[in-house]
């Protein structure tokens, strides 16, 4: 092998090894696991076959640190409460709503969210999905007179049969509500109250997790009596005829919304706009509603789903109505302090 062939071979080998990273004609999309399914962007695939790379995460705080440390997708899918944080790190570029034909189908309540406004008809995030977080419980295993309250996840009679979500915007937020403090702006003494509430819960739990498949299996087997989950788990277990109910707690469910953000310096803006627009098609949203039980941000998708299905899923066709009774997961001012404190408590501190 002469030096020239050697060089050539090693270059080829290198190119093969790093292939996906060098591909500039593919859109790299970083999303929650389960949200990468092709049914959500059929129009994009038809227009750009084989032009999508997907990586997934289980929690958008982890996603944030991964992007902060140098991972560069073109599009990512964090939730609304994190947008200010992504922006503070200068990771995002404004998205021009004029380039998204389906933008006008987005409910005003999402279009007008304060933290996404980038001025001049531009936004930091295009809202796509929304849903609820609540207690999913076994109707045959809880006490018949069980109080419909988040306190079920703090009830000592179910010790060792409870699980909760390992994310700052879920478990600590609920703990704050139960401790009677404002989750979105806390003083030092408020944080201490939340910490006490979380410490009270820890010995009762089997696990803090974002692995919803495991939680669903444990609820189905009867190992868990109740767990904090998102809508999709309720839909999945009911489809398997497991006797479960997604609670409507008296303190209110949590309602969240997530969407697409475009990373700074992406070379694939055209593909990114096509992708966002295809996800806002009515047919995509219909899949999200019917398969997962989540809401979409577009009125056109809701119009495509029969009213009975929406009733069954307890999804009002107008999200504004939902938000009247639930707690909207907005940005939490003390997110970092809360995250550190939550990690301490999980470790037994």
């Amino acid at each position: 092998m002469n030096p020239k062939t050697l060089l050539l071979t090693s270059f080829t080998a290198g190119a093969l090894l790093t292939g996906p990273a060098l591909a500039e004609d593919k859109l790299n999309y970083f999303t929650w696991s389960g949200y990468e399914l092709p049914v959500f962007h059929e129009a994009y695939t038809a227009a750009h076959p084989d032009a999508l790379e997907v990586s997934v995460f289980g929690d958008d705080d982890d996603a944030f640190t991964k992007v902060k440390s140098g991972f560069r997708p073109d599009l990512a899918h964090p939730c609304y409460d994190k947008i200010a944080r992504w922006n503070a790190e200068g990771l995002l570029q404004p998205i021009d709503t004029a380039r998204i034909p389906n933008w006008d189908h987005i409910f005003p309540v999402f279009r007008n969210l304060p933290d996404i406004q980038a001025g001049d008809g531009k936004v930091w995030m295009v809202p796509w999905d929304w849903g609820n977080t609540s207690v999913l419980y076994r109707t045959d295993m809880v006490a018949p007179d069980a109080d419909m309250s988040w306190n079920m996840l703090w009830d000592p009679q179910y010790a060792g049969r409870l699980a909760t979500i390992d994310a700052v915007h879920d478990t600590p937020l609920v703990a704050a509500v139960l401790a009677g403090v404002n989750p979105f702006d806390m003083s030092e003494s408020d944080l201490e109250k939340v910490a006490d509430k979380l410490r009270e819960q820890r010995p009762l739990l089997t696990t803090y997790t974002t692995d919803m498949t495991s939680v669903e299996q444990s609820l189905a087997s009867g190992e868990l009596v109740a767990a904090m989950t998102w809508n999709a788990s309720a839909v999945a277990l009911k489809a398997q005829d497991v006797p479960v109910e997604f609670m409507d707690p008296k303190e209110g469910m949590l309602t969240w919304t997530c969407g697409f953000v475009m990373l700074k310096d992406t070379p694939n803006t055209d593909l990114a706009y096509d992708f966002i627009n295809s996800r806002l098609e009515a047919s995509s949203g219909k899949h999200l509603i019917e398969d997962y039980g989540y809401g979409t941000s577009t009125d056109s998708a809701f119009a495509a789903v029969p009213a009975e299905t929406l009733d069954e899923l307890k999804l009002p066709a107008d999200p504004q109505k939902m938000l009247e009774t639930t707690i909207f997961t907005g940005p939490m001012k003390q997110n970092d302090a809360l995250a550190k404190m939550f990690e301490r408590i999980k470790a037994g501190g």
Binding site: T65, K68, P203, L205, G222, R344
Partner: protein, 289 residues
């Protein structure tokens, strides 16, 4: 003149041969380690390596009881893992060295078989065994030993110990096997000629001569299990959070890399002390002469 030529040639060859090792050690290991150490003395101000140094992370680690508590828990769990691994590995290694005969190749193959699947799959396999509706509970109910499934097997430190002891078994079996294999048979023959019972020759000859293998195996199991984070995260439940989980959380959700680096440095110091203690033990009990 002639001999000097040979000498320099030899030196050049040696330098060439050690180049890859030197590059890997300095470029990948020591450089990365230095970055971690520097990061450990930074504060979480957004910039990673530029800015003032501070002892605040170290002060937090040593003054806040939580970290000592989690560190002790990690030492306790991986100590149990090491004990369980060595105790179960010894008979296997003994069988391989003295009794396996023609089947030695087959047994060695079986010992290394778990490495054919990923570690994550082995963790999940244990989850299938230990779960509420898992293999163990189903078998016990079928045999009538208890009638409602027990939640006692999963989400506690025991599940972590069992899984890690299984995963690390080959790391203990192989060094003990090598140590046993190098015991000269003449010593055992001499012992039996002099009327020693089998128990006596085990206690006086085999066990002392295999100690280097036992200590080596114990170290190879103990050091990586202290920092393990996958197993406690998947099977341990809240009560088995180990130091690896805390470090991972600092680099993930808690978003405080300098503090995570400081925890990593503190863990390395603790492991260093453990290794020093084992070396001391090796000098005392492990030496062959």
């Amino acid at each position: 003149m002639q001999s000097r030529q040979v000498l320099t040639d030899g030196a050049g060859f040696r330098a060439a041969m050690s180049m890859p090792g030197v590059l890997v050690t300095f470029g990948l290991v020591l450089f990365a380690l230095a970055l971690v150490v520097v990061l450990a003395f930074r504060i979480n101000d957004g910039a990673l390596f530029v800015g003032p140094l501070s002892l605040s992370n170290m002060i937090t680690i040593f003054s806040d009881g939580l970290y000592a508590k989690v560190m002790l828990r990690s030492l306790w769990i991986s100590g149990l893992v090491t004990l369980a691994t060595v105790i179960t590995a010894y008979p296997v290694a003994w069988y391989l060295a003295f009794r396996a005969g023609k089947r030695r190749g087959l047994v060695l193959f079986l010992v290394t078989l778990p490495f054919w699947t990923s570690y994550l799959l082995r963790v999940f396999a244990w989850k299938v065994v230990l779960a509420y509706n898992g293999v163990l509970n189903s078998a016990m109910i079928a045999l009538g030993i208890w009638d409602t499934p027990s939640t006692a097997f999963l989400n506690n430190p025991t599940a972590v110990v069992v899984t890690l002891a299984h995963a690390y078994a080959p790391f203990a079996i192989l060094p003990i096997f090598v140590a046993l294999q190098t015991i000269p048979p003449s010593l055992l023959e001499a012992a039996s000629d002099l009327g020693a019972s089998r128990a006596q020759s085990f206690r006086r000859i085999i066990l002392p001569l295999s100690m280097p293998g036992v200590l080596g195996g114990a170290l190879v199991v103990f050091v990586p299990t202290i920092g393990d984070y996958v197993t406690p995260a998947m099977l341990g439940g809240p009560s088995s959070t180990m130091i690896g989980n805390l470090i991972q959380a600092q680099f993930g959700k808690a978003n405080d890399w300098p503090f995570g680096a400081a925890l990593a440095v503190a863990t390395m110091l603790v492991i260093l002390i453990a290794v020093a203690l084992v070396r001391q033990a090796d000098r005392r009990w492990g030496s062959r002469t």
